[in-house]
C-alpha cells in the first residue's frame, strides 16, 4: 500500500512540476494545487497505513486499546488542506488582478519578462548593446 502511494505521489509531483514550470501562471495554480495534494498524501503515508480502524476510545475505557489508524497525520493534513485552500484562493484573486493590469499571464511576455530596470547594457528597442551605461 505504501509503495503504491509512493508511486502515486511521485507521479503527482512530476505532473505538478511540469505544470508549474510551463511559464503560464494559470497552470502554476493547477500545479500548486496538485502538489499540495501530493504532499498531503505523502504525510498520510508517513503516518503508516497498517490499520484502518478509527482511533476512537471505548466508552468503558480511558485510553485507546487495540490497534487503530494514526490520527496525528490526519490532523496535520487537515491543517495543510485549510491553509492550502486559503493560499489557492488568494493566488487566484491575485492572478485576476494581475491580468487586469498586464492583459497576459504568460511569464515570457513583457510585463513579467522585462521587469529589470534599464541599466543601459542593452538598448530595449533594438536589442543591441546600449550607450547609456
Amino acid at each position: 500500500m505504501e509503495a503504491l502511494l509512493a508511486i502515486l505521489v511521485g507521479l503527482m509531483i512530476a505532473a505538478a512540476l511540469y505544470l508549474m514550470l510551463s511559464g503560464v501562471l494559470v497552470r502554476f495554480v493547477f500545479g500548486f494545487t496538485l502538489m499540495g495534494n501530493a504532499v498531503n498524501l505523502l504525510i498520510f503515508a508517513a503516518g503508516r497505513l497498517n490499520y484502518s480502524d478509527p482511533p476512537l476510545i471505548d466508552p468503558q475505557q480511558t485510553i485507546l486499546t487495540g490497534q487503530a489508524a494514526n490520527a496525528l497525520p490526519q490532523a496535520l493534513i487537515l491543517t495543510a488542506i485549510v491553509i492550502g485552500f486559503a493560499m489557492t484562493t488568494f493566488l487566484l484573486i491575485l492572478l485576476v488582478r494581475t491580468f487586469d493590469q498586464t492583459r497576459t499571464l504568460d511569464t515570457d511576455q513583457p510585463p513579467f519578462h522585462c521587469e529589470l530596470p534599464d541599466v543601459g547594457l542593452v538598448d530595449t528597442k533594438t536589442g543591441l548593446p546600449g550607450k547609456k551605461g
Binding site: 497525520p73 491543517t79 491575485l94 488582478r97 521587469e115 541599466v119
Partner: protein
C-alpha cells in the same frame, strides 16, 4: 506563571491587530493605537529578554498537553533576542509609517497586517514544534501578501506574483520535509527530534530531508540560487513595509536554518554544513556582484540583503561557538542597519524626488541631516569601525580563520570590500554628485518630518552604541553560541517542563 510571558509577544500584536480593524477609517486614531500596540509589544519583549537572561531557557506547554504530544513555546537566548529586535524594528516602522502611509492604505488594512506580521514573526521565533513553525510561516506569508498587494501600481503586481509563487513553493517544500521527518521519527517537537534524529538509521533519507529544508528555508532567506524573487519585489513596497520586510522576513528563514541545523541535523555535518557553506559563499559573492550593476537605491540594498545573508549562513556552516556568536551579532546588526537603510531610502526619495541614482544628486548640500542618517548605517553595513558591522564581520572572518578555512575568510573580507564600493556609490551619486539636469524626478519633493527622522536616528544610535560597547554584547553572544552548540538547556526546558 513566569512562563506565560512566552505567549504575550504573539498575543499582544494579534489582539492589537483585531483592534486596529476598528480604527482603520480614522488615521489619527489608528496611528496612536498602532504605536501603543508596538510599545506594549516592546515592553513584553523586554520582560521576556530579562527573564531569559535570568533563566537561560524556558518552555511553555500550551493547553497543558503532556510532552511531547502538545505544542510548546520555547525561548532561549536566540529566540529572546530575535523577539526583542522584532519589536524594536516594528516600533520604528510604525513611527515612520505615521507620515509615510496614506489614509487610503490605512483603510485597506496596513496596520492590522503589520501587527499580524509581527505576531507571526514572533510566533516563528518562539515555537518549539516543527509543524507549528510551518503554520507561523503561513500566517507570515498571508500577512505579507496582504500588505504587498495594497494599492494598484502596475509594477507591483508582477513583483507580487514572483514573491507569492516562490514563497508558496517554499512552503510546499517545507511541509514535504515535515511529513518525511514525521515518518522517520514519529515526532515533530524540536527538542524531541534532537534525540530521535540521531537514532534514525536511514542516513540517506535524513540527508535528503535536510536538503529539502535547506531549499525551503533557502527560498525564505534568499540563499543562492533561490533569491531572485527578493530584488524583484522589495522595491515596489511602501517604504516602511520594505524596511520591515528587509529587516525581518529573510532573517526568519535564517533563524529557522540556525534552529534546524544546530538542534536537529547535527549528526552528519560533513554533508549538511558543507552544503550550507558552499551556498553561503555563492550567496555572498553573487549578491554583492549583482548589487554593483544596479542604480535604484532599494534594489542595491535588496541585493545587499542577499550577500549579508551569506555571512550569517557562513557563520552557521562553520558550526563553532565563536562562529554562531558571530552569526547572532550579525543577525542583530543586519536587521537594525538594513531596516534603517530602507527607511533612509524613503527620506532620500522625499528629499530628492526619486529612488534612482541617475535622477538625484547634491543631497549633501541640501539635506545635511539625511546625509548623516544615511552615512551611519551605510558604513556600518560596509563594516567600518567602530560601528556594529565591523565587529560582526570581524567575528565571522575570525571564526573562518580559527577553524582554518582561510579561503572563506578571504572571500568574506573581499565581499566586505565590495560592499564598501556599493555604499560609496550611493554616497557619491546621491549626496556628492551635482543634481543632474536631465534627471526626471518621479514623485514630488516632500518636506521631511520629525516622525520620519526619529526612528532613523534611533536605529543609527543603536548601531553606534552596540559598536562602541561590543564587550557585553560579545559576551552575551558567546553564551548564546555555546547554548546553540550544546542545547542541553533548551532540551531540559522543554522536557523537564522548567
Amino acid at each position: 506563571m513566569m512562563k506565560m510571558l512566552l505567549v504575550f509577544p504573539v498575543l499582544v500584536p494579534m489582539g492589537v491587530a483585531i483592534a486596529m480593524v476598528l480604527f482603520r477609517l480614522d488615521k489619527q486614531k489608528a496611528n496612536t493605537a498602532a504605536l501603543m500596540g508596538a510599545l506594549l509589544h516592546g515592553f513584553v519583549s523586554i520582560l521576556l529578554m530579562v527573564t531569559i537572561l535570568d533563566r537561560q531557557a524556558m518552555a511553555l506547554w500550551v493547553g497543558n498537553w503532556p510532552a511531547p504530544a502538545g505544542i510548546c513555546l520555547v525561548a532561549d537566548y536566540l529566540s529572546a533576542v530575535m523577539v526583542l529586535i522584532t519589536s524594536v524594528i516594528h516600533t520604528a516602522v510604525i513611527i515612520y509609517a505615521r507620515k509615510d502611509i496614506h489614509s487610503s492604505q490605512v483603510r485597506m488594512g496596513f496596520y492590522p497586517f503589520m501587527q499580524l506580521l509581527t505576531a507571526a514573526v514572533c510566533g516563528a521565533f518562539l515555537t518549539g514544534d516543527l509543524f507549528n513553525l510551518y503554520v507561523w510561516f503561513e500566517v507570515m506569508l498571508m500577512a505579507s501578501f496582504g500588505i504587498m498587494v495594497m494599492g494598484h501600481s502596475s509594477g507591483r503586481m508582477t513583483g507580487a506574483v514572483k514573491y507569492v509563487t516562490m514563497n508558496l513553493l517554499s512552503t510546499l517544500f517545507l511541509i514535504t520535509a515535515i511529513g518525511l521527518i514525521y515518518g522517520l521519527t514519529g515526532t515533530l517537537n524540536l527538542a524531541d527530534l534532537h534525540e530521535k534524529m540521531a537514532l534514525v538509521e536511514n542516513t540517506a533519507l535524513v540527508n535528503s530531508v535536510a536538503l529539502l529544508l535547506i531549499t525551503a528555508f533557502g527560498i525564505k532567506s534568499a540563499l543562492f540560487p533561490l533569491f531572485f524573487w527578493l530584488p524583484a519585489s522589495y522595491h515596489i513596497l511602501p517604504v516602511p513595509v520594505s524596511a520591515f520586510f528587509a529587516g525581518m522576513l529573510t532573517k526568519v528563514g535564517v533563524y529557522a536554518l540556525i534552529r534546524m541545523f544546530t538542534l536537529v541535523f547535527v549528526n552528519d555535518t560533513a554533508m549538511t554544513h558543507t552544503t550550507l557553506m558552499i551556498l553561503a559563499v555563492l550567496t555572498m559573492v553573487s549578491g554583492v556582484i549583482a548589487a554593483a550593476s544596479q542604480t535604484e537605491i532599494r534594489r542595491i540594498l535588496s541585493f545587499h540583503i542577499i550577500s549579508q545573508v551569506g555571512y550569517m549562513v557562513l557563520g552557521l556552516a562553520l558550526f563553532t561557538p565563536l562562529a554562531l556568536a558571530g552569526t547572532l551579532i550579525y543577525l542583530v546588526h543586519h536587521i537594525v542597519v538594513k531596516a534603517n537603510l530602507f527607511l533612509v531610502s524613503g527620506l532620500i526619495r522625499n528629499a530628492a524626488g526619486s529612488f534612482d541614482l541617475k535622477d538625484i544628486g547634491s543631497l549633501y548640500k541640501t539635506n545635511g541631516l539625511v546625509s548623516v542618517a544615511f552615512f551611519i548605517p551605510a558604513f556600518s553595513l560596509a563594516g567600518f569601525p567602530p560601528l556594529s558591522g565591523f565587529w560582526a564581520k570581524l567575528l565571522i572572518i575570525y571564526a573562518c580563520l580559527e577553524s582554518q578555512h582561510y579561503m572563506l575568510g578571504a572571500v568574506a573580507a573581499v565581499v566586505g570590500l565590495m560592499t564598501v564600493f556599493s555604499m560609496t556609490k550611493i554616497w557619491s551619486q546621491a549626496f556628492w554628485k551635482p543634481l543632474p539636469t536631465d534627471g526626471n524626478a518621479r514623485v514630488a519633493v516632500r518636506p521631511l518630518s520629525a516622525w520620519m527622522m526619529a526612528p532613523v536616528l534611533g536605529l543609527a544610535i543603536i548601531t553606534i552604541v552596540t559598536g562602541l560597547f561590543m564587550e557585553p554584547v560579545y559576551r552575551l553572544a558567546m553564551v548564546a553560541g555555546e547554548q546553540l552548540m550544546n542545547p542541553v538547556q533548551y532540551i531540559l526546558a522543554v522536557k523537564g517542563g522548567g
